[in-house]
Amino acid sequence: MTTTDVPAPTAHRSAASAQRRPTRERQGAAWVFLSPWVLGATVLTLLPMAVSLYLSFTDYDLFDPPHWVGLRNYVQMFTEDPRYWRSVLTTLTYVVIAVPLQLGLALVVALALKGMKRGKGFYRSAFYAPSLLGASMSVALVWRAVFNDGGTVDHLLGTGGWVNQPGWALLAVALLTVWQFGAPMVIFLAGLQQIPAELYEAAAVDGAGKWRQFVSVTVPMLSPVLFFNLVLQTIQAFQVFTPAFAISAGKGGPADSTLVYTLYLYDRGFVASHMGYASAMAWVLLLVIGAVTAVLFRTSRSWVFYASEGER
């Protein structure tokens, strides 16, 4: 009967502190678990962002100390460098071609596979495989050969090599991205399978045909997943590099037609050693991607439907 010896208030206080101590301990533990991430986020993300902003106002070649030039890099970019605008236009064209085609194909194939009883798993994996292989230099080199003079596409269409024609080379790069539609397709398919069957049954009872069911049930229920894919693929498309590098032997040709933004950034920073200029380019890319993401989020309010919101 030791407990009776202890005065009640003390017991009360020690219980309270016993409750507080674990939480403080857990706070400490949380920071231990987080420490690698905190270090990485500070030293490899936040600090570099600040430094790259600073460098964007300087001339810097890695050897001599950075030399402050104010807005010079930005002015030069926007008013005196036609290749910069070329790279902006090339990238925007690429994004506008590749992303809708890729997502459209992903959605069509996901819809085709949705109701399949046999073979769904096989197709799902097989269509997904290019998403893993396509990012490699190996496949980019294959692409160059297939779309080159005397390559398969030339044989089939008789158009000559696409990669040598300014009007077509970027399309070859875009098709390599479209070819990797498997990743968004897998996400679409998972989204489709989460739509409750009752919704379709109810719609059918109300006399809705296949198309009406697609518009009124599938599209709204799938819109969060569609939005996720759209944001992710758009951000990734803005950063395309390897296929443009491989198809143009690192030069962005022919006639700068595959000079995507990151390829020009690489050229300015790491080939020509204009680190300040490349940093300014990086910051504009950051701001543009941020702005595009913000616009997508803003417009999403009118077309993305979250089930939990609808119940309110």
Binding site: A41, V142, A183, F241, L285
Partner: protein, 286 residues
């Protein structure tokens, strides 16, 4: 014939058409890979200028030339370098991302919400915004042209996508197990290593495989950080062929491409369930 029988017949035809369509699409998609394999076995004079996939005779010499490597560096060396970098990245990501994910998913601490939001935002951050200062840091440390810039960041959970993936998975685990353990006097570290981590194995495997494949395929980072041919990875060695337009090097180049793709194909065949489901779950709310 009754209408139901007619309907059933139509459904059957529809299904056959669907499979035919899918198979046709698949053939078109797999063509570049078949072309790669075929070309890697073709003698030099047949590489281009023929639509035939099958070579007139199989030229194994492409592979023996590829085994000699590039720039005097043997392919085993290149393979070893690629494996070292990918292996280091896998260890780093699994270690650091699972630690951070546990804190975000399971522990309460001040600033949790804003830090989590920041972590998610870094998924969308273009790599180029931090690339140049990172390069300068590693340059100042004398680590350019070593593997540190390629491996060290992974030990600091810089690939937020995987933190997010593991958080999503951990949130789905029943809390009761940890609560019971806590009552039994189990601290957060014990609880992490003995209870949560073993249950998180599927997400960790997914992280490991994706990290391996993405690091193996990565070109840009390796391109800016590695200069010495004997430090090159397979991907970078393939770059030497990018400028080469002479057809004589085509066969060996594609033989080496096949060798570079082989690990990814094997990983894909062995772990497709983890890969497909990992990708699928990344787009859904947990």
């Amino acid at each position: 014939m009754t209408t139901t029988a007619l309907l059933r017949k139509r459904v059957a035809w529809g299904r056959i058409a669907l499979h035919a369509g899918c198979l046709a699409a698949l053939l078109v998609m797999l063509y570049p890979l078949a072309w790669l394999l075929a070309t890697s076995l073709k003698p030099a004079n047949e590489v281009i200028a023929s639509l035939d996939l099958l070579p007139s005779h199989i030229a194994w010499s492409n592979y023996t030339t590829a085994l000699d490597g590039v720039n005097g560096v043997s392919i085993w060396r290149l393979l070893g370098n690629s494996l070292l970098i990918a292996g280091g990245a896998v260890l780093g990501n699994v270690f650091s991302c699972s630690l951070a994910a546990y804190a975000f998913a399971r522990l309460r601490f001040r600033m949790r919400r804003p830090l989590f939001a920041f972590m998610i935002a870094t998924i969308m951050l273009p790599h180029h915004a931090v690339l140049i200062p990172q390069y300068i840091i590693f340059n100042k440390l004398g680590l350019v042209n070593t593997y540190w810039p390629l491996i060290l960041p992974k030990f600091l959970a810089t690939e937020a996508f995987f933190v997010f993936l593991i958080v999503q998975f951990m949130r789905g685990l029943p809390r009761e197990l940890e609560e019971a353990a806590r009552i039994d006097g189990c601290g957060p570290f014990r609880s992490f290593f003995s209870i949560v981590l073993p249950l998180t194995r599927p997400a960790l495997i997914t992280t490991a495989i994706f990290t391996f494949i993405w690091t193996w395929n990565d070109f840009f980072t390796q391109l800016i950080y590695l200069f010495d041919p004997d430090k090159f990875t397979l991907t970078l060695a393939l770059r030497s062929f990018v400028d080469a337009s002479s057809q004589s090097s085509f066969g060996p180049m594609f033989a080496m491409s096949v060798i570079a793709l082989l690990p990814i194909v094997l990983f894909f065949l062995a772990f497709q369930r983890f890969l497909v489901e990992g990708m699928a779950s990344s787009g859904l709310k947990g």
